[in-house]
C-alpha cells in the first residue's frame, strides 16, 4: 500500500469521533451557558479546587459573622439606650438634689426622689435583649440587680438597716435620729454604709451579674466585648446615692445632718454620671467596631466573590461563540459524511 492509502472502513467512520466529541462538548456548553459556570468545576479547576473552596469557605464565614453581628449590635444598642436613660435619670436627680440643698424641710421629697430613682436604675439595669440581660456579663440569663423593694424586705435593704442599727443603736425611722451629729453621719455614710456597695456585700446582696463581659468574634480574628455588666462603679455609686436618699431621706435628721446627706448623695450621683459616661463610651466603641468590621468584611466579601467568580465563571461571550462554532462543525461533519457515502466507484460504473 502506498502512503496515501485510505481504507474504506476508515473513510466510513472518519467523521464519527469528531461528531461524538463535538456532541459531548455541546452538552457541556449548554450547561455552561445556562449556569454561567464550568460544567464540572472539579475537573476544570483540578488541584486549584482546594484554593477555590478555601475562598468560598472564607466568604461563607464572613457572611455568617455579618449575620451574627446583628445580635451583637442589638445587645450593644440596647445597653447603650439603657445606659442613656440611667445617665439622664441621674442627671435630673442631681438637678433636684442641687435645688433641694437650699430647702430644709422637705424630707419626704428626698425619700421619694431616692425610691423612684432607685427603682428606675434597677429597671434599666435589668434590661434584656431577647433572652439575654445586657448588663449581666457572661451570666446573661439572670437579672443583674435584685429588686430592692419587696416583701419581705430584700437582703440588700435588711443589710443597710442592719448597718444603721449597729452604728447608731436604733433604726432609721426612730425619732432618736435627730440626735445624730453631722460627723457621725458622715463617717457612717463613708464607712459601714459605703461598704454595702462594694466587694462581697455588693455581689451577695445586690448583683448577680458576672464581672466578665461576654465576648464575640465579629470578624475573622477580631474579638470584642459585646456586653457591659452591673458591677461597674457607675451602677454601685448611683445605687449607693439613691439608697441613701431612700433610707435616710425620711429620717428625723437634724437640718445640718440632712445637709450632709444631700451633699454626699449629690457627690455620689456626680461620680456615677461620670462613670456611666465612661461605660457608655466603651459600649459605643464596641458598636463602632462592629460597624467597621461589617464594612470591612463587606468589601472583603466582594473581593472574594470576584476571585471565586474568576475561577468558576465562564465567559458568556466565548461560550456563545463556541456553541455557534460547534453547531456549524457538527453540521459540516454530517454533510461530509453524506458526501463520502456517495463517493464510491461502484456508483459510476455502468450496470
Amino acid at each position: 500500500m502506498t502512503i496515501s492509502s485510505v481504507s474504506t472502513q476508515y473513510l466510513g467512520t472518519v467523521m464519527l469521533p469528531a461528531v461524538t466529541q463535538a456532541q459531548s462538548q455541546l452538552t457541556t456548553l449548554e450547561v455552561e451557558s445556562s449556569t454561567g459556570q464550568y460544567a464540572d468545576l472539579g475537573l476544570q479547576l483540578g488541584s486549584q479546587s482546594g484554593y477555590e473552596l478555601s475562598l468560598k469557605n472564607e466568604y461563607d464565614q464572613m457572611q455568617t459573622l455579618t449575620t451574627d453581628n446583628a445580635i451583637a449590635t442589638t445587645n450593644l444598642s440596647t445597653a447603650q439606650a439603657a445606659l442613656d436613660s440611667i445617665r439622664s435619670g441621674a442627671q435630673s436627680a442631681l438637678t433636684s438634689l442641687t435645688a433641694m440643698t437650699a430647702v430644709s424641710d422637705d424630707a419626704s421629697t428626698l425619700q421619694t426622689l431616692g425610691s423612684t430613682s432607685l427603682q428606675a436604675l434597677i429597671g434599666s439595669t435589668n434590661t434584656a435583649s431577647g433572652q439575654q440581660y445586657v448588663f449581666g456579663g457572661i451570666n446573661s440569663s439572670a437579672a443583674p440587680l435584685t429588686s430592692y423593694f419587696s416583701t419581705p424586705p430584700s437582703s440588700a435593704q435588711t443589710a443597710v438597716d442592719q448597718a444603721f442599727q449597729t452604728t447608731f443603736g436604733f433604726p432609721p425611722s426612730s425619732p432618736l435620729a435627730s440626735s445624730i451629729t453631722t460627723t457621725a453621719l458622715q463617717s457612717f455614710l463613708d464607712g459601714p454604709f459605703a461598704a454595702q456597695f462594694s466587694g462581697a456585700n455588693w455581689s451577695s446582696n445586690w448583683s448577680s451579674a458576672s464581672s466578665t463581659n461576654t465576648t464575640a468574634e465579629i470578624a475573622p480574628g477580631e474579638t470584642i466585648t459585646t456586653s457591659s455588666n452591673a458591677n461597674q462603679p457607675g451602677f454601685q455609686q448611683l445605687a449607693q446615692a439613691y439608697t441613701m436618699l431612700n433610707e435616710f431621706g425620711g429620717s428625723a435628721l437634724s437640718q445640718s445632718a440632712q445637709q450632709v446627706l444631700v451633699t454626699t448623695a449629690a457627690s455620689l450621683v456626680t461620680q456615677g454620671v461620670s462613670s456611666m459616661t465612661t461605660t457608655e463610651a466603651e459600649v459605643g466603641a464596641s458598636l463602632g467596631q462592629v460597624t467597621q468590621a461589617n464594612a470591612a468584611m463587606s468589601s472583603q466579601m466582594t473581593i472574594l466573590q470576584t476571585q471565586v467568580g474568576n475561577l468558576d465563571d465562564v465567559d458568556a461571550n466565548s461560550v456563545a461563540t463556541q456553541l455557534n462554532t460547534l453547531t456549524t462543525q457538527i453540521e459540516t461533519a454530517y454533510q461530509i459524511t453524506a458526501k463520502l457515502q456517495e463517493l464510491s466507484l461502484a456508483q459510476y460504473l455502468p450496470t
Binding site: 500500500m1 492509502s5 481504507s7 474504506t8 472502513q9 476508515y10 466510513g12 472518519v14 469521533p17 445556562s34 449556569t35 454561567g36 459556570q37 460544567a39 464540572d40 468545576l41 472539579g42 475537573l43 476544570q44 479547576l45 483540578g46 488541584s47 479546587s49 482546594g50 484554593y51 473552596l53 478555601s54 468560598k56 469557605n57 466568604y59 461563607d60 464565614q61 455568617t64 459573622l65 449575620t67 451574627d68 453581628n69 445580635i71 433572652q131 439575654q132 456579663g137 457572661i138 451570666n139 446573661s140 440569663s141 439572670a142 466578665t212 461576654t214 464575640a216 468574634e217 474579638t223 472574594l304 470576584t306 471565586v308 467568580g309 468558576d312 465563571d313 464510491s344 466507484l345 460504473l349
Partner: protein, 499 residues
C-alpha cells in the same frame, strides 16, 4: 512454441484471474471487519510462459499494530484510574448553581465544606450562646461533617472493592484470551509447515493481541517457526508455546489499611509495590494502582482529617491536674483517649458526633458550651465552672482549634503540619488534581488509540475503490484471455478445415 502451449498459457490465466477474483471477493466482504488485513494474491510467471498464484499474503504492519496495542494498554490503564477517581471526586464536587456569576455556588458535601459549615455554626453559637437551638445547629453541622467523612470513606472502600472485582474479571479475560491464542497460534504454525492459507488465523492472532493489550501491556516476538511469544510490558512471559496462568484471589471487602492480593504469574507477583516486575499499563495496571495507591492515599487523608477533628475538639483537664485529654464533640466507638496521627487508620469510617452532646441520642447540647462532653458531670473536664449562660470561652476555643496548626502524618501526602481547614481544602485539591490529570491523560490516550487505529486501518485495511479497479482489470484480463482462446480455437479450426 505451439498453439497447444498457448492453450495451456490461457488456461493458467483463467486460474490466476479466478484466484485473484476470490481474493478480491474476500477483501470486499471484509471491508468493514475491524482488524481485517487486506489480502494480496501474488502472481508469478511459470517456466512454461504462463502465470501462477504463488501465495496469498496479508498486508500486515506489525509496527503499527504494536503502536495500536501499546496505546490501547495506556488508554485502558488511564481510563480505569479516571473512572475510579471520578467516583471519588463526586463526593467532594461543587455543584454549580444557577445564580452565577454571584459566586454563590453550592459547596457540595466535601469534608472541607462541611467543616466550614461547622465553623459558621460555632460562630453563630458564640454570638448567641444562651440559645439552645443554635447549639443544636452546631451538633447537626457536626453530624453533617461526620456523615461526609463516613461517606467519603465508604466511597473509597467501594472504589477499591470495585477495582478488586474488576481485576478478577481482567485476570479471567486474560487467561481466556491466552487459551484462545494457543489454538490460533497452533493453526498458524501448522499452516506455515503445510502451506495452508493462514491469513484468517493471523487476523485472529492480531485481534486477540489487541484485546489482550486492553487488559495488560504486552510485547511480542515471532519465533523462527512462526510461533508468537507474548510477554508483559515488564517482561514476564505470558505465552511461549503454552499459556501461563494468571492467578488472583479477590477480596470481597477492602477496609482501610487492608491491602488486596497481587496478581501472580507462576507465583511471581506482577502487580503491587512489592512486585519485582510489575505491569506498567493495561486495565490491570490501572486498577491495581487505583486499588493499592490512589484510593488508599485518599483514605489516609480522610483518616488524618478525622484524627485531626477528634484532636482539635478534645477536652483537657481543667482542674490543673494531669488527666488525659478525652474526645469531645467528635469521637469514635470505644474511644479511651485521643489518637496520635499514626493511629487513625480507618477512623474516617468510624468517626461520629459524641452521643453525650447529641439531643437526638439523649445528649445535652449545653455540654458544648460548658465542656464535659467526654465525661458529663465530671468537674475535671468542665470549662464553664460558674455555669454562666453567656460563657463563650469553650466555644471560642473550638472555633480557633479549626484554624490552629496541628500535625498530620506526612505519609498521607499532604505535609506534616497545617490547620485542619487548610488540610481539608488541600485534600479536595489533591483529589480533584488527580482526577483532572487522569481524565486528561485518559482522553489524550484515547485519541492516540483512535489515531493509531486509523493509521493501521489505512495501512492494512481494504479500500473498495482499489478492489473495484483491480476487479475491472481482472475482468478485462479475463475478456482478453477468452478472446485469445476463441482466436486460438479459430486458428485450430482453420488448420483442421485446411486439412
Amino acid at each position: 512454441m505451439t498453439l497447444s502451449s498457448a492453450y495451456n498459457i490461457i488456461n493458467s490465466a483463467f486460474a490466476v484471474t479466478g484466484a485473484q477474483s476470490a481474493t478480491i471477493a474476500r477483501n470486499i466482504t471484509n471491508a468493514s471487519t475491524p482488524g481485517y488485513s487486506r489480502e494480496i494474491a501474488n502472481v508469478v510467471d511459470n517456466p512454461y510462459g504462463g502465470a501462477d498464484v504463488a501465495s496469498i499474503t496479508r498486508e500486515a504492519n506489525s509496527a503499527l499494530l504494536d503502536q495500536v496495542n501499546s496505546s490501547t494498554s495506556e488508554s485502558a490503564s488511564q481510563s480505569a484510574i479516571a473512572a475510579g477517581l471520578a467516583t471519588l471526586a463526586q463526593t467532594v464536587s461543587d455543584s454549580a448553581s444557577s445564580t452565577s456569576p454571584s459566586g454563590a455556588t453550592q459547596n457540595g458535601a466535601s469534608p472541607s465544606a462541611m467543616l466550614a459549615n461547622l465553623q459558621s455554626a460555632l460562630s453563630t453559637y458564640e454570638a448567641d450562646p444562651s440559645n439552645e437551638s443554635v447549639g443544636e445547629a452546631v451538633v447537626s453541622a457536626a453530624g453533617d461533617l461526620t456523615a461526609s467523612l463516613n461517606s467519603g470513606a465508604a466511597a473509597v472502600q467501594q472504589v477499591r472493592s470495585q477495582a478488586d472485582a474488576n481485576m478478577a474479571a481482567s485476570v479471567a479475560t486474560i487467561n481466556s484470551l491466552l487459551n484462545q491464542f494457543t489454538q490460533v497460534n497452533a493453526t498458524v504454525v501448522n499452516g506455515l509447515h503445510s502451506g495452508a492459507d493462514i491469513s484468517s488465523a493471523q487476523d485472529s492472532e492480531d485481534s486477540i493481541l489487541t484485546q489482550l493489550s486492553q487488559q495488560v501491556g504486552i510485547s511480542t516476538t515471532t519465533n523462527a517457526n512462526g510461533s508468537v511469544s507474548i510477554y508483559t510490558d515488564s517482561g514476564v512471559t505470558l505465552f511461549q508455546d503454552i499459556p501461563q496462568t494468571l492467578s488472583f484471589t479477590p477480596s470481597p471487602t477492602l477496609t482501610a489499611g487492608v491491602s488486596g492480593n497481587p496478581v501472580t504469574v507462576d507465583g511471581i507477583p506482577i502487580t503491587g509495590a512489592s512486585a519485582p516486575m510489575a505491569v506498567q499499563s493495561g486495565a490491570l495496571a490501572g486498577l491495581a494502582q487505583l486499588r493499592d495507591t490512589i484510593a488508599p492515599e485518599y483514605q489516609a487523608q480522610l483518616d488524618q482529617i478525622s484524627g485531626g477533628l477528634v484532636n482539635a475538639f478534645a477536652e483537657t483537664d481543667q482542674t490543673g491536674g494531669t488527666a488525659p485529654a478525652l474526645p469531645g464533640l467528635f469521637t469514635f466507638p470505644g474511644a479511651t483517649g485521643v489518637p496520635s496521627t499514626t493511629q487513625v487508620t480507618g477512623l474516617s469510617s468510624q468517626i461520629e458526633v459524641n452521643p453525650n452532646v447529641d439531643p437526638s441520642q439523649g445528649g445535652d447540647v449545653d455540654l458544648l458550651q460548658n465542656g464535659g462532653i467526654s465525661d458529663p458531670g465530671s468537674a475535671t473536664y468542665t470549662y464553664n465552672t460558674t455555669g454562666a449562660a453567656g460563657y463563650t470561652g469553650r466555644i471560642q476555643q473550638m472555633v480557633s482549634a479549626i484554624g490552629a496548626t496541628q500535625s498530620f502524618d506526612p505519609s498521607a501526602g499532604l505535609g506534616a503540619s497545617d490547620s485542619l481547614s487548610d488540610y481539608a481544602n488541600n485534600s479536595v485539591g489533591w483529589l480533584q488534581g488527580q482526577n483532572q490529570q487522569a481524565t486528561d491523560a485518559a482522553s489524550y490516550q484515547s485519541s492516540v488509540v483512535t489515531q493509531a487505529t486509523s493509521a493501521l486501518s489505512n495501512a492494512t485495511g481494504v479500500n473498495l475503490d482499489t478492489e473495484m479497479t483491480n476487479m475491472l482489470n481482472i475482468e478485462n484480463s479475463y475478456t482478453t484471455s477468452a478472446k485469445l482462446l476463441t482466436t486460438v480455437n479459430d486458428m485450430f479450426s482453420a488448420l483442421m478445415n485446411a486439412a
